[in-house]
Amino acid sequence: MTKLRPTGEATPRTDPLVPGADTLSGRLRRAPENFLTADDIRQVGQGRRDFLRASFLAAAGATAAATLSGRAAAASPAGAGGDPDILNPTPWGSSLGLPVAANPYGLPSKHERGLVRRQSPGLTQVPAASVSFAPLQGLFGIITPSGLHFERHHQGWQDIDPTRHRLMVNGARPEFVKTPKVYTMDDIMRLPPVSRMHFIECGANTGMEWGNVAVPTVQYTHGMLSCSEFTGVPLRTLLEDCGADLKAAKFVLAEGGDGSSMTRTIPIELVLSGEVMVAYGQNGEMLRPENGYPLRLVVPGVQGVSWVKWLRRIEVGDRPYATKDEAVHYIDLMPDGQHRQYTSIQECKSVITSPSGGQTLLDKGYFTISGLAWSGRGAVKRVDVSVDGGINWTQATLQTPVLSKCLTRFTLPWNWDGRPALLQSRATDETGFVQPAYGQLRAVRGTRSIYHNNAIQTWQVAESGDVNNVQIL
């Protein structure tokens, strides 16, 4: 069915998604640097300060009109008697709206269409074995809307017929599982369910930034990160139901039912603790097909590749499996030329999501610095924020809930005085582990690890209000 856009607004006057609109609609005047060519900058560098002053005046004159035409400016009652959006009838206030169930499965507002999953150009060679990043720069709280959950597929995604999906539990040797069993989705959904909120982070999240700054925004630096409420059955329940020998078992293999039949070795410790679950629910509905419909493994605190999607088989064994994704990929190259194998835990990490790279602050004055913190070893204990590049720190407020192996939202009030700033966040988890700076991380692991980059992220705020991705050691 072709759907018309919902009513409510005529063509917006200053919608940046509409061509010709003024995107940088803040009240800040653009800094003169932005109007200098490379040659101009060279001249300034050679001491021609007078040139800079002249340039600033010219730029200020040329852009005064443009900066005032933005949305923020339009909202000020400078016109004839006030804000036209108050003085005049609005289209949405003077017409009939759309009927119920116009969108049987609801959709976000058309004004939110910029906030979508996106690929990083050039990162991968084929879209069926690629990544799409979640738009962290626009998300609130800790739950990722299911349609914005990051994707990582190794051989494309499938939309499996749930009535034909099966989960098999067997042993690497007969003695490990007394009764190998087959479960239908009917069976699994009859079992006592648990619902828990957990983050999932790809082991390669922030991997492009190991050696230097490479990408512009938090969507691409940190967007292989999502958090959902998952509903399912603890794997331990199924293993006990099959009579698995949980003393002899040392490892569990998880296998997907898609073309790649992806396999990963799962730590028995997290199975025995009851944390690992076979999940069918995500944020109150079934898993999305891109996230493993109808069944995936949830391995809290462990990198996303272990959360095997389209889960079809669990094998109980006593030795690790050295599968492709733990012997060719997802191995961390150290400076001595050795690869770390079976790296799994996502260590304590945090990032400021607002303001963040690629954004521009609207104005001087009050802002809330807001971001996400998480740890694969448990709950986040505290987050500190610096606005001077890590010289001085202030403890941020943690929004509740603060849960183990789950995203935690932190905030800190900030009055921006218009001077350059360097924003950082530094998380500490319940084990006492404090998130390292880039220098500390590289001193041990070099720059070629690809995986498990949990360094402190820095966003540079320029006088123009522009926020840019930089690194501080």
Binding site: L98, I345, Q359, V434
Partner: protein, 352 residues
């Protein structure tokens, strides 16, 4: 005691007398799942471990492998496993000395351009297992066990691990393991695997103490903050227009870093006019809301010279044509706008 409680007690008392089984918490999950048959386990349990547990019997030669390779693998991986156009190279970067030591020396070099599969993989079982379960990419699990041996034999030959006349079998693959160039290149001496298992660490050398960390210093933690890296200019616009990747309200906007991709996405001006004029309160493109859908209208009047009549109808309103609900007169709408809308409706009411 509540009435429902009394009723429940009464029911259970009667149940006890009559010999009913009162519902109790189960100590197992009766009738949930069923035993797997041996054939089912055989069909799905195809994993091959580093100790070659699960390895099927079979064999394949380098020359047979080359035939399969050229037919099914070379289009993505290149004839000699060197492809960088679709997938990363499989072969290269290893030496005869690496085969002796089991350490790929090039991995220590920071200037080495890429890491091929054979520079990384320590276990030949991984390759057999993966090719069998996931290759060819667009037709996984279509190779026979012998074909997998043959393809792997060809790959090992390309990597100069086995000679041209080699036959790889479930027996000889164990010798090959001893010649894998990076067989000693893996370490589990780290803290990124859960290590509080009371039964002891799962891997030799694995440790509980993280290798990195930081001090929770709060004031005057360092003399100054120096930038070590900034976004290269060429990367600034490499992710499209960031303005269009941010919200249009809130404390920040996205920086404009590229052409406006939304231009092609802009709604049709006639659609905007229909929105502004309130048409969409009662009409939709292909569903009946209050009035008829635009596709119904277009179907009824298609090929007839009816545009002018419809413009009058829109302006003056009407009833009876589409049922009992009348269309009110649109006195605010100009004739020109009405013409635009009618032309748009008769052309199928496109969104763009």
């Amino acid at each position: 005691m509540s009435r429902s409680c009394k009723a429940a007690l009464l029911a259970s008392a009667i149940g006890a007398i009559l010999g009913w089984t009162a519902p109790v918490l189960a100590d197992g999950f009766a009738n949930v799942g069923r035993p797997a048959t041996p054939a089912e386990i055989k069909a799905w349990d195809i994993d091959v471990g580093p100790d070659f547990a699960g390895l099927p019997k079979g064999s394949g030669t380098v020359s047979r492998g080359m035939e399969i390779w050229e037919e099914k693998c070379a289009s993505c991986h290149g004839t000699f496993g060197e492809s960088n156009s679709v997938f990363n190279p499989l072969v290269g970067g290893t030496t005869a000395d690496d085969i002796k030591t089991g350490h790929v020396a090039a991995l220590k070099r920071t200037d080495f351009p890429a890491r091929t599969t054979f520079m990384k993989v320590a276990t030949v079982s991984t390759l057999y297992d993966y090719i069998r379960r996931a290759m060819p990419w667009n037709a996984p699990k279509s190779l026979s066990d012998d074909d997998v041996y043959a393809v792997l034999a060809y790959l090992l030959n390309l990597a100069e691990i086995v000679p041209d006349d080699y036959t790889l079998t479930d027996a000889t693959i164990r010798d090959v393991q001893g010649r894998m160039p990076n067989r000693n290149g893996m370490t589990s001496a780290h803290a990124l695997w859960p290590n509080s298992n009371p039964a002891g660490p799962d891997f030799p050398g694995s440790v509980a103490k993280p290798d990195t960390g930081n001090a929770a210093c709060m004031t005057d933690c360092k003399p100054k903050a120096e930038l070590a890296s900034q976004l290269p200019d060429h990367a600034r616009g490499a992710h499209g227009n960031i303005a269009a990747q941010n919200r249009i309200i809130g404390p920040v906007r996205g920086q404009r870093t590229g052409p406006d991709a939304a231009a092609a996405d802009a709604p049709s001006p006639a659609l905007a006019l229909a929105e502004q004029s309130g048409c969409l309160s009662c009409h939709a493109v292909d569903t009946r809301v209050v009035g008829p859908s635009y596709s119904e209208i277009a179907a009824r009047y298609r090929g007839k010279d009816s545009a002018e009549a419809l413009v009058s109808k829109v302006k003056a309103g009407g009833d009876g044509v589409w049922g009992a609900v009348p269309m009110p007169p649109q006195t605010e709408l100009s004739v020109d706008d009405a013409k635009t809308l009618v032309a748009w409706i008769l052309s199928g009411a496109p969104q763009k």
